[in-house]
Amino acid sequence: MEVKQEAGAPEKIKPPTKLEDSGELEIRIKKYLRGDGANLEALQDKKLRGQLTVREKLYGKSAEAAAKAEKWLMPSEGGFLEAEGIEKTWRIRQESIAREVDISSSRNQYDIVLPDLGPYTLDFTSSGRYMAAAGRKGHLAVVDMKNLSLIKEIQVRETVRDVVFLHNELFFAAAQKKYPYIYNRDGIELHCLKEHGAVLKLQFLKNHFLLASINKFGQLHYQDVTTGGMVGNFRTGLGRTDVMQVNPFNGVVALGHSGGTVTMWKPTSSAPLVKMLCHRGPVAALAFHPNGHIMATSGKERKIKIWDLRKFEVLQTLPGHANTLDFSHKGLLAAATGSFVQISGNFSESQSYSRYMTHSMAKGYQIKKLLFRPYEDVLGIAHSMGWSSILIPGSGEPNFDSWVANPFETSKQRREKEVRSLLDKLPPETIMLDPSKIGTMKPPSRKQKPTKQERESEMEAAVAAVKDMPIKKKTKGRSKPSKSAKKKQDIIVRTKRPFLEQQMKEEEALSRKKQKASEEAELPKSLQRFARKKAT
């Protein structure tokens, strides 16, 4: 293997901007307050009001402390390319960047050429320290990206379609010809997941420890990797697809289908949570913004659409075709088709994405997958001739949280973190469109009123139950047939009464509503003032 470094021309990297302290702090505090508190003045309950005031005060303090901590503990701010005069940022080539950056950064520009073992696909661990590369023709490799050393390389001698790291670099799953397999870092096969079938695409949900896969027959599988249990197995019914992406915000798995639809799934429901028609052509690629609110899709009809997932509306439609899409930590969107990579970003205050950088590989290289390396300004490109890596200034999050993802993790820390993350493992039912709704009131169940037939049948059943009741034998002519018949009638009437009353009530309410509506509808505006005011 060879690491090829490119040389380049100078460009300015913008220094971190300094905002006014107070305003910035306020903005940060607002961020950490996570929304407004309730209007406590309106509360009737004095005690509750007191308690809530105390809580709110504590929240305020906590937010302020957090904002200050953020200010002092996260000093580095990401920069980005800034053009001067008639320069354009997308004209800047990798060579010119390499000339400007330090040695350790310039080491991240290289091409690894492996022509034999087919188009490659990549996956990074969440810290960005390790990379798994899988060649179509059975080449699996785990690389330490810090010192660019190959940890393990194996040849499985069958088609490998996808590779994905599990919770840490010790395990990775590879979708092979017939089944997906799980290997450890030493290349030892640990599991063969036969239930998944011939998997086209794999995804791992880190917080839930679920391995999601979509197979040739369009079946979506969720497997818990801690217990080994199959959590979900759904037929999408929308045909074969290899476009799958997990929303990092809520763990919802999105699939792109040939009908131009994107479906979103959770492991506890057999029907998709959301099904949206995104493109008129087949969906070619799919990516989620790390904050989970923005989704980018590309269709075969040469359109890239950016969606707001809170409203399920298109934010922006970009022209062009993309075989693969990826969002960086900072929200840059990389799209690639053929051997051409384009990165767009929304640096201006407007939400629209515009061209930021471009890069073209050697002619003939077919890019299979783009993946931003976490916490680095690096974009990994997996293509038909191996993989490459280029610098995209401003793409990575500059401050890493060592409790979340530590690129400099020691083995002891890794073990510690594994245990911790297992303890914090989320059950699969916590996957939902809006996970912030957990703990709130149950949404009012749309309990449908029983239909008329149901009501009638219920009433009939009640009547039948009463009818069959034996009547006590009484003396002195009180159990005469006439008397007993009357009694029976009485009982039936009594059982029917509540049903009838309810029915009447409903009807009444309905008629009143209707009347109201009709009144409102009837009178023209000019005459409405003469309408009888209802005494309320």
Binding site: D45, S62, K137, T268, I438
Partner: protein, 898 residues
Amino acid sequence: MAEKKSKSGDSGRPNNKRNQSMSKTLPKDKNNNKKLKNKRKRTGPRLPNALRKEVERLNPLRPSDSEGEEIDSDEAEFGNGRDVYEYEEEAPPEESRRNRRFDPVDNLEYELPDEFEDEIVSSDDEEDVGRSDDANLSDAEAEDDEGRHIRMLQEITGMPSETFQGKKRKKGDLVVSEAYPESEFNPSHNVGDGDGRITIQDLLDPLHGKAGYSKLRKRTSQMERKPMSIQAPLPKPYREKLERKVAYEQSKKDITKWEPLVKRNREAPTIYFDQDLDLGFSTVGAIASEFEPRTEFEKKIASLVHDDKVKEAHEKDGARLLELNKTSIEDEKERRDRIAKMRSLLFRHEIKQKHIKKIKSKTYHRLMKKDRAKATSAQIEMDPEAAKEQAMKQEFKRAEERMTLKHKNSSKWAKRILQRGLTTQDEGTRAAISEQLHQHALLTRKMNSMKDGSSSEESSDEYDDENSVGSDQDKENLLAKAKEKTLKVFEEDDEVPNTGVLSLPFMARGLKKKRDAAVEEARLALQEYESSSKQMEDSQGIEDTKENSMKGRMVFGAVQLQAPGANNVSKSEKTYDDSDGEDDMETRENIDGGSHSGNDMQNQVQNGSTVLHPDSETHDYSVFKSFDDIVKNPGAKTTYEVAIFASDGWRKMKGSNKETAMKKKQDLLEPASQKKDLEEASGDSDTESEGQMVDGILSSGPTQSYELPSQADLIRHAFAGDDVEEDFDKHKMEILNEENPEPEKPIVLPGWGQWTHIQQKKGLPSWMLREHENAKKTRQDALKKRKDAHLKNVIISEKVDKKAEKLHTKSLPFPFTSKDVFEQSIRMPIGPEFNPATAIGALNRPEVVKKSGTIIKPIKFEEVNPHEKAEYGNEQKHLSKKKEVGKSSKKNRAKAKN
């Protein structure tokens, strides 16, 4: 008489005082006095009360009485009396006292108060003057009497009158008698009236001058002045109720002072109950400073440690310590010698032990064991402690045996033997079994004597030694032994006696027959042993093969394939070694025996590995070589090969650089052919994958070329999903209908009302139509309420996830009444992952902070400003309080939670 006068003089002053205090009564009294003077003249015999009242009724009041004096009953009565008996001028003789026929003392008790009063009143009236008048009057009389008396005394004693006078004066202070001489000027109307009433004044007067008198008098005068009717006391329950009410008011007032304190505690988010606990010493130094040497040794040490010299040396540079440390050469020598001796002793002991350890003789060990047992038994006899220990050991063993039933034929070996039947076993086995049972019996028997136990223990130990190796090993051992024995039998059989009875031909024949039978039996037995041993071997072999087969799937590269093979070989060798070690015969038999499945397998694998080994090596080499090639020729990279992804298969187009490609192909083809061999050699499990792989590599051949898809294909591909939107709409409608089914259209039941054609004309009944309309409307409403109602190309599932329901709260928690307030109150996470460390404590602090073991004392009163805004920065307050507590000794500041 003199006594009377003195009395009046004495009593005059307090009365006077009284009158000064109540000015209002003064004039009345004045009148009284005057009247009294008049009355004196008009007194008559006293009428009974009833009669007098009657008279009073008959006679209207005189104007003189219209002064409103009716109130004073005494006065009124008096007045009436006067009116009635006005005609009677003469006083009774005993009253008038003039003639002195009656003893004045008789009346004293009755008269005194009234007279006093009168006298007082008079004195009051004219203040000093009046009194002096009175005094003059009385004095004149008294002097008369005195004069006579003195004269009489003078005459008797012959002493001057002055002496007696002085004496009398003195006496007069003490003697109390009738206040006044009875005369018309000094009337004692009471007596005269016969009215024996006692006024309060009468009762008060004797108390005159005593403590509390003035108070009493005041009260009485007050009562006189403001006379009011006293009501009858209330019934008890009412009284008590009132009392309770008053008490309640009082206690209410008392308790309100606690209110701000309690309020503060109620409103506080956290209440702290901690005292400063005295944990004693906190540092080692503190403990050391308190140390006092008690024992002799400690004292000695202390004396050395606290030696002045040493201390001084320490305080200085410590150089003097060296001087203090001096030892003599002799001492050092002695020490060295001692140590050398000890070392040599140790060494010898060690050598000895090593030697002993090396001894392998069984007899030696047996003897040693016996010795040890003896020693222990001796010790048991000597030492009760050791005996106890031994007994304990024995008991433990017994318990263990009872628990595990180790010797109750529960071992694998014993079970097998029993399964086969004891009768078919040979002597040794049976003996062993019975021995074991005996062992069990011994162990489980209740121990009475120690000796028995010890012997059994010994035997069991021996037995254990034999059996401890493990059941498998056991079996082998046994088999080996049995074989040896049978072989011995063979050998013995060979020697035939030449002389004696046995050498006789028939005997010899009989013997031979017997021997033959025995030999036959022995052979059979031998065969059995062999078969059994073989079985054991086989089972091991099967296990091995199993392991191998398990590893069979893990074939990633040839290197890995080779590894298990080698492993296998080594393993098989190992097993052979083992068996060799056991018995030569066995291996021989094993090899000769018919069933060699395991062995065969191993051979096979060995072959396989030998076949594979070179191949894999070369293959690896080639792969790496190809990589190397690529790395070496980076220049060719740009125009190397173009691979295009089409559907699933991979095809390679030839690049311009044919030479390198060809080279590579050659490289690749070589391993491919080798791989074929490999495929054949290896098991059938991997065939599919390898086939694919071979395909993949073969497909890289130069003959294939990429065909561009036709234009029609491309167009079809591009517009494959043209009617996508319609499809989607349809699908959406389907889903909506599924979730909110469309109401059924009202239909006419066949036959109902049709024969009259009325219904046909009228159409459907109105109620049906109405119902249908309602249903439609509800459906529309439901559809409108959907989240995706306004989103044309989106379907958001409204299905309720039952599993996720548990993540929501079912109902509003108690104090909350509004959903929004509740949800906003839980919007902030409070865990350590989401908050800075400084805020977590406050966010998660419990309502009550209390160290375990702290006694919660009842609430203590302290001044709290009720208008003070409750402090919520409780922590600081708490801290400050803590400091305060620390300063102000051990004052308990436990706040009670109310």
